[in-house]
Symmetry: C2
Subunit: 408 residues, 2 copies
């Protein structure tokens, strides 16, 4: 990447934001991280901690500068609330691109209670809108790169291969058939996923009305924890979520195996999901920054995922590697028992992405991380206690009764 | 309507909310109005007042009770902020239906500044989400009736007749053509309209995940001011907006004629809009409450409009009736110079709606209201000063240069 390009990373202290910030700094960008540390505060709320012992943001940045000579700036502000500070920062930094990770990003957390639903909608919608509004107010030509999710498409869409954001359809207009391309009809499966479909409309509008250049990355489930940059020093270690709200499925299985907990498959495990390794995440974001859409071009959408797997097949894989038992639990989500998922992801491959896949040996690296830090896991927090519907059965403590398996 | 049915009207002090509340009370409902009086406060902000001398909400309600013996309850609370009070009210009232007008509803106001954009997104999105969240939390079976807008469809959609919310399209799946029905792709023309497209996704999600029954009324431009109920006594008079932000086109023309101001056509006047008289608005909402969707039925969408007209034809009509001059001004919006608009509205007709049209003599009633109260108009507030893009020319005061006509 061209040296001295200025980039603001919103949410740059988080699981994807932190390794992305290091990667962009390594590539020569002048990076400013904006983060209100909400993810660390949610750890406090949930009584959990990252599997990996992450350092405070200031120490992370000091170590990065000492190791590489590169400085990353940091501002603690809440983009959903502190609009004037955000607008002023954009005027000061005058970035070429803003990378936007600053959203509440766990579906189970978004479903815990009315308070969590309302926080997720308020935080994510106002945050994204404030960024767009501030970009327009700045009068600067800033490319917004947003981390979205494959979950906006919904799963099991009638055998259709999921395109990269836009769907070609035919409509009948006064007896004549017209072919048009429309934004893929959204079908969110949780409050969290819904906020990403709201984001898409914000992008659509600001792109059309104000010619804001936007790239929206529809990411799959991330696995792994380390990147080349976070491995440089223990102070740079990335976070690793394993508990019921923020842990993602494959990483969770590997930790469960490390602590001797059964692998928690919800429902039949026939759900097919798209996956990407964290190292590919940071590469994709770098590629997206380097290839902005043109002016007057519509929102550019990438499917940021490299392979698809059924959940039960992943459980079986981890079981084979580790000897862990697989158990089936009540599924707290409203979703199909089984689904197919075929995705298009040609755009990143055409830009040169060489995908890391499950077969590339990096599973072993995660297993080692999980084994090294397993004493930091509180096994009582492994089971998710969120539920999608009031009619999902509760256990004695008023939580979703997922502690007991329902099918052998 | 069956007597003693309880209905909450959110935004029940406003232009559509007030006559709807009276209508429902007249039909035998027990009505509770919720309103934070934000529309009256915006009048203060803008230095404007309703053309008609509206009374404080308390006096309105006292007069209604004295005249009819029917009591309407009133709570002053902000549904976008006061979630606990809203949730508690729903538990107390246990309404059959909630009618939701409680949104910032002027496109020009939503475009005035970053503050106005942010207020509109924050207020409308959190307000709608809080209502949905509180309905689910209540565990009650409550039908939500929402006032939406025809503007979510966008205008000039390639000659397509605008369906009532859902579009049938054909998609290619592995070489086989499948017919599917999708929510009509949204195409909002302002921040305000965008918030209504966000609402639609909130409805979609809560309907699908929690089986909340929702009716969304995609309303056209409202004209007129009085209904049978507001005419009962001067204390019950409805508000009438005429200035640049909240005034709607036909009512504005009639007031402009009354005060000797040229009729303000923006752009070519070739924009086609859908219209409805306020008396039909209240009838439609009553019909919608009486015909809720079934459980597990998708969001029910009506096009709540009775006829379409080009703006310049309306100006010519008002000019013929009143002798007023028609003038053409810079269009502050990003929109097509001319557009066609054909809409489907069969659902309300099938439920028995007998539309009031422009030819029914009610234009004369509006002309009389405009003439009676013309001294309350501040002619300096007639021209809108919002603009949709930074490149729309400004006059000396930093406002959009619409004070001078650009084509004869």
């Amino acid at each position: 990447m061209a040296s001295q390009e200025r980039v603001i990373v919103l949410g740059g202290d988080g699981f994807c934001g932190w390794p992305t910030s290091l990667r962009l700094s390594h590539e020569g960008c002048d990076v400013t991280i904006v983060d209100n540390l909400s993810r660390r505060k949610i750890d406090v709320e949930l009584g959990c901690q990252s599997l990996t012992p992450i350092q405070p943001i200031e120490r992370r940045l000091q170590s990065w500068q000492q190791l590489t000579g590169r400085k990353i700036d940091y501002r603690n502000l809440n983009i959903a609330e502190d609009y004037q500070e955000l607008a002023q920062l954009i005027q000061e930094v005058r970035p070429k691109a803003i990378v936007h990770f600053a959203e509440q990003r766990a579906a189970p957390y978004s479903m815990k209670s009315p308070r969590h639903k309302r926080y997720t909608v308020d935080n994510n919608t106002n945050g994204t809108h404030n960024v767009l509004c501030a970009i327009v107010e700045s009068g600067l030509d800033i490319h917004l790169v947003h981390l979205g999710t494959m979950g906006v498409y919904g799963y099991g869409t009638a055998g259709l291969s999921i395109p990269e954001g836009y769907l070609t359809v035919k409509v009948d207009v006064n007896g004549a058939e017209h072919e048009i391309e429309i934004p893929y009809p959204p079908h969110p499966g949780s409050i969290y996923h819904m906020t990403k479909t709201l984001d898409a409309l914000l992008f659509y509008y600001y792109n059309k009305n104000d010619d804001v250049r936007v790239t929206d990355l529809h990411q799959g489930v991330v696995w792994g924890t380390n990147t080349e940059e976070t491995l440089l020093h223990p102070d740079l270690i990335n976070r690793f979520d394993w508990e019921g709200d923020y842990g993602t499925v494959l990483n969770r299985f590997l930790v469960q195996a490390a602590v001797g907990h059964p692998l928690t498959v919800h429902g039949s495990g026939g759900q097919t999901r798209a996956f990407i390794h964290i190292r590919d995440t940071v590469r994709c974001i770098s590629l997206a920054i380097q290839h902005p859409p043109a002016h007057k071009e519509r929102v550019k959408i990438f499917n940021q995922a490299t392979e698809t797997h059924r959940v039960r097949n992943l459980a079986d894989l981890v079981s084979r590697l580790t000897g862990a038992e697989v158990r089936y639990y009540v599924n707290p989500r409203n979703e199909a028992w089984e689904n197919e998922l075929v995705i298009h992801n040609e755009q990143f491959l055409e830009l040169g992405l060489q995908p890391i896949t499950l077969s590339d040996g990096l599973l072993q690296e995660v297993i080692e991380v999980a084994a090294r830090y397993r004493d930091r896991v509180d096994v009582t927090k492994i089971i998710a206690d969120s539920r999608w519907r009031a009619d999902i059965p509760l256990d004695r403590e008023g939580k979703a009764a997922q502690g007991e398996p329902v099918i052998a």
